[in-house]
Every structure is written in structure tokens, then in C-alpha cells.
Symmetry: C2
Subunit: 360 residues, 2 copies
């Protein structure tokens, strides 16, 4: 089989961790007899510097010609004071999501055995572990709803945003959550604010309706404010969390932080045709860029998600995940996952990539 | 001085903890020579049962005639399956906030010395303590913005909500945050989603503008998703958090849970004339209602907030707060704040009230 990947490494640690993902993919190609072609494109801050905008036409065309997008990370202090629409993160990610209708965002967050001490949670809570999959709607809600803008003058000037969801939009993302739950612990927690938002009332109705087709899956509803709280007390009781765009933004970041190891988390954003964008959950970490100490695991795992979801190469994806587990369980770790007194044993970015590639 | 208070005890533990607040207020009246008149009104589930709606006309009229509202808590399983608009919490609180234009919600959350173990945070994080004041805008944004509703049919049926803020609305709540910060650690963190929301861009502009009048206060901006994360890692670095209605709902609950002792937290909701609604942060806890074990501290502290903010009786307010601190520091605690092996020492609801009243 042969695939084309648009590689958008971006800024900060993006290029370094992407190099390790490519190293691992090269090994996967050999072992599983796949052919993967790569084309690199500028995105984010580097694209602003080279072409004047965070998502140049050539990058978008390149993504259109590819079977999937492997995304690094974007942003940094240099571009922080640009107007919101022109900033690297917003100006690249939102148009990509919109253009390819990447409505489904999967953000798994698991507390790895042996890394419980990284979690900011109290020892007796983190020791129970947790494994949550956030299924976030990514092309609707208040992110893209119209009208959005300003009107009026002086102190009466108003800004407005519209949160908007159709039954069809809720239904397609809800189905994905229930299907995912069937392959997991068979529980969906739908996050909303149905005591305030008309969108959430519709959301609840549709989710209840979809649930009827999955009698083996338990459904519960929780308000966003309460969800933020309960995740702190009993994260182990959540399995799949089904969220609208804005609430998914908040919940997925909260559970990522609860693992305490953002460098291990990746995410998949897909459309209904299997096309997707795969990226690490952490940011561009400009403070450690170029030092060769960034954790490449999240980027490597995003390559595994690409193999699984866009290329249906389950075996190859699982092989990468096994190799990563082997590295972690053998204590092969980058510095940020080690206590101060163990930092001397920290592996460098490229050592992590080498180990994982060899373990394939 | 003489004041009129509308007492809305509500459901669940509401009436029991309210009785203790009244006990403490009676002592305050004697000690500080105040005259406080009380009128009780039904609200929430009990109002639905007795009058068919969660906020009867008589209750609203009674509140209008009073100088402040002392609110207990509302809701319970019995009324959970009513349509959203008719439910106790939503159907009572939102109209009260709207009717009296209670635009300013103050929700302090402090990790009390000696109660660090209650926090769900890791010991090395909670041991640093924290003391955060959430200043939440309470009558604008997506809670009250128009249009809100539904249109279309079948799978194309859509629901929509409007987030809306004027410069004047942002300015008045921002001022309150900066003034509060001047009396605290002189830092305001404004929470928004300016990389996505037009409302947040306006919010940021106005907050920057207001900041110019408070040169002694440091201002920083943080995205809501990042705020949810940073609170878990470094809660001690936040002082005043300035939030829109929806983001404040989320942040105030997250910081409340981070203290691990919701029974100690109260909140004040005020309008521009000093009229206000004072309530505990926790819910109606129907599971323990009537057992005489609920923690009355949050309700007692909400009476202190009433004295301070609506009646300008600072000395009386401070006396209540000192009495509460005395109880806590002497280990005079209700059961939920004690480890299992110390539960035998747990104080009952009325014992807490007695102790605090006597300490006035
Ligand atoms: C950069 C920003 C627009 C984006 C979002 O809010 O979706 C980011 O926070 C994310 O979660 O991918
Ligand atoms: C009951 C509900 C409408 C309310 C809100 O969302 O404001 C509650 O969660 C609160 O925070 O007081």
C-alpha cells in the first residue's frame, strides 16, 4: 500500500519531534511493507515569516493532495502580538478544521502505569489511574457559528458570537462516541450546560436518541461545571466524554493536565471520509526548542493514530504503540518525566526516537 | 441600624444550615446592636411543590421589599426531570439574577491551613496553599444573550445561543476585579478565549483599558482551556480571576473543588446599588438532608458577606469570619472534613452553629 502524507512540522519543538516520528515511520514502512511519501509544508509562525500568513495557499493545496496531515505544533512569543486571526495557532488550525470538515476530534488521556507521580492529583486519587477519551465536536458550536462580530459605538459597542448546533451535527459526533465506547469500558458521559443553553438541550435530546442504538453502552449527562469538578475527584469513573467544541476544548485540556505528561498525548481530527490531521496535544514549547530534550512520544503516537484512522493500518499502528509502551515501561524517559534526582538518566529526543524505532 | 432580609432557605440541607446562620446572626445583632428583620419565602423545589413554580411572585415581591437575599440551596432528585426552565436551580437563580441585575458574582476559594489534605491536589502542590477570588460577570454573555432558541425541522433543526457583551458590561465587572485585587495580592488574571471568540477580543480590550486606572495591579490574560490546566499545577500563583458568565461558572467550580471543602465556601451576587444575594457554593446535598450533619459554615459565611457588602457592617462581618476561623483552627469540624478514623469527633450542624455563635 502507498500513502501520501503532508508534513506540517511548524514551530518550536515541532521540527525536532517530527524528525523522530519520521524515523519511526521509516522503520514501520520496512517492517510492514508500506510506502509512505512525504511532502513538507510551512505552517504557523514559520509560514508567517516565509509567506506572510500562517496557512499559505501552497500548504492548503498540499494537504488537499495528501491522504493525511501530520501536524507538529505552532506558535511562539515572536508572533504573540499579532491580531487573533493572524496568529499561528488560530490562523492555521481553525481554517484547516473548517476546510477539511474535520468534525471529529479524539483526545485520549491515560495515566500511564509508573507515571502516576506526574499527575497533579493527590496520590490516593492518581494511584487508581484513569483512561479517558474525549470525543470533541470540532467544526460547529461557538467556534464557527454565524453571526459573529461587533456592532454599535462607544460604551454601547457590543461583540457577539453564536453557538449553533443542528441535529445532524450532534448525531454524527455522538455516534462516534458510542462506537468508541463499545471498544472500551462502554460508558459515555455527555458534557453540556442544558440548564442554560438551548444548544445543550438539543444536544441532550439527540444524544439520548443515538443512545438507543447502543443498548450495551451506559449514557450519563453532566453539566460542564460539574464535569470540571468531578474529574478532579474521580477521574477513573469516566470512560468516553462526549463534548461540543468549546466544552471539549476545556475538558480535553483538563484531562491532559491531569495525566501530568502532556508529552505523551496525541490527538486525531477527522472528517467523514477518513481524512485526518494528527498532532501532539502539547504546544510548541519555544522555551526548550532546539535543545534536543523535547519528548517526541506524542508526535510518534500521532503517527500511529494516522496509520490507524486514515490508513486503516491497525497492525502498524499497534506496533508503534507497543514500542512506545516498551520504552516507557523500561524507564526510557525524557527529562520532564523524571524527578530532579533522576534527571541524569534522561534520554534525549533522538535517543527516544532511536529506541522506539528499533523496538518496532 | 435596621435591615430587612428575605430568607430563601430552599431545599435539601438549605433549611438546616440556614437555621445555624440565623443563630449566628442573632448573636451578631446583640453584640453589634443591629436590628435585622427576617421574612421567609419558598424557593426552588419546595416552591414548585407549594406554588407550582420555583420562583413564585410572592417570593420575588418579598425580595424586592428586602435589603438583601439570604439564599440556601435548591434542587433535588424529585424535580430533576422537569423541563430545564422549570427546574429549581435554573428556574430560581437565573430570574433572580436577571431581575435584580446581580451582575457581579464574587466566589472566593481558599485552601484553609490545616485542611490541605482535603484538596484533590498532590501534596506538594496543596501544601503551598492558595487563595483565589473568582469575579464572575453574572447577567450577560451566553446566559442571557438573545436570540436563543430553535429553528428548522428534522435533522436540519438547529438550536442557537448568543454570547453577547457590551463595553459597559465588561467595564463594570472589570473595575470590581481590579478594586478587589488592590485589597489582596494585586494581580488580576482575566480568563477568555480571545483566539476564538469576538466577545473575548472585546473583553480583552476593555480589561486592558480599565487596567490603566490601576497601575499598582498586574494584569495577565489566560485562555480558558489553559486556565483550567494551570489551576491544577500552580493554583497559588492566581489571585483574582476575572471571568465572563460561562467561564466563571466553570472556573469558580474548579477552584471550589480544588479546596476540597465546598461546605466552607460562600458567594455574593450583587447589583450596582449594593443589593445582593448571598449563598453557599455547594448544592442542596439531598443525600444528607435532615441528618443534622451538613456543614453550616458556608451558609454562615454567606451571612457575613451580606453584612459586609449589602449592609456595610464590616466589623460584624469580620467577627463572623473570625469565629469561623477559630472553629476550624481548633479542629471543630463536620464529618466530611475529617479522615475516616477521626469521624467520631465530627461536630453536628447545630454544634457548629452554637460554637460559632458563642465565639462572636
Ligand atoms: C488554538 C485554538 C484555536 C485551539 C482550540 O481552541 O480549539 C486549541 O486550543 C486546541 O484545542 O486545539
Ligand atoms: C444553576 C445554574 C444555572 C448556575 C449557573 O450556571 O450559573 C449554577 O451552576 C451556578 O454556578 O450558580
Amino acid at each position: 500500500m502507498s500513502y501520501q502524507v503532508a508534513v506540517l512540522a511548524g514551530d518550536g519543538i515541532g521540527p525536532e519531534v517530527m524528525a523522530e516520528a519520521r524515523k519511526v515511520l521509516a522503520q514501520v514502512e520496512k517492517r510492514f511493507e508500506l510506502q509512505i511519501g512525504y511532502q513538507d509544508y510551512d505552517v504557523g509562525g514559520v509560514a508567517i515569516d516565509n509567506h506572510g500568513c500562517p496557512l499559505p495557499e501552497a500548504t492548503l493545496k498540499g494537504c488537499e493532495a495528501a491522504d493525511a496531515i501530520l501536524f507538529g505544533s505552532v506558535g511562539g512569543p515572536k508572533w504573540e502580538n499579532l491580531p487573533p486571526n493572524d496568529q499561528p495557532e488560530r490562523g492555521a488550525l481553525l481554517p484547516l478544521r473548517g476546510h477539511f470538515e474535520l468534525f471529529c476530534n479524539l483526545r485520549p488521556a491515560k495515566l500511564h502505569a509508573g507515571l502516576e507521580h506526574m499527575s497533579p492529583l493527590r496520590a490516593d486519587i492518581s494511584s487508581r489511574g484513569f483512561d479517558v477519551l474525549c470525543v470533541r465536536e470540532l467544526t460547529g458550536g461557538i467556534y464557527f457559528g454565524k453571526p459573529k462580530g461587533r456592532q454599535g459605538e462607544g460604551e454601547a459597542e457590543e461583540a457577539f458570537d453564536t453557538m449553533r448546533y443542528s441535529r445532524a451535527e450532534v448525531r454524527r459526533i455522538a455516534k462516534i462516541a458510542f462506537e468508541a465506547a463499545q471498544g472500551r469500558r462502554k460508558k459515555v458521559t455527555s458534557v453540556d450546560k442544558a440548564n442554560v443553553l438551548a444548544c445543550s438541550v438539543l444536544w441532550r435530546e439527540v444524544v439520548e436518541d443515538v443512545a438507543k442504538d447502543y443498548p450495551d453502552v451506559t449514557l450519563e449527562h453532566i453539566y460542564i461545571d460539574n464535569a470540571t469538578m468531578q474529574l478532579l475527584r474521580r477521574p477513573d469513573e469516566f470512560d468516553v466524554m462526549l463534548c461540543s467544541n468549546l466544552f471539549g476544548d476545556i475538558i480535553s485540556d483538563e484531562i491532559a493536565m491531569l495525566t501530568g505528561s502532556m508529552g505523551l498525548l496525541s490527538s486525531a481530527s477527522q472528517n467523514s471520509k477518513g481524512f485526518g490531521l494528527y498532532e501532539p496535544a502539547g504546544g510548541s514549547a519555544p522555551d526548550i526548542a532546539g535543545l534536543g530534550i523535547a519528548n517526541p512520544v506524542a508526535q510518534i503516537l500521532s503517527a500511529a493514530l494516522m496509520l490507524r484512522h486514515s490508513f486503516k493500518e491497525e497492525e502498524a499502528a499497534a506496533a508503534i504503540e507497543r514500542a512506545v509502551s516498551k520504552a516507557l515501561s523500561e524507564g526510557y524517559l525524557t527529562g520532564e518525566l523524571l524527578a530532579a534526582e533522576q534527571r541524569a538518566d534522561a534520554k534525549r529526543t533522538s535517543e527516544m526516537g532511536d529506541f522506539i524505532a528499533q523496538a518496532i
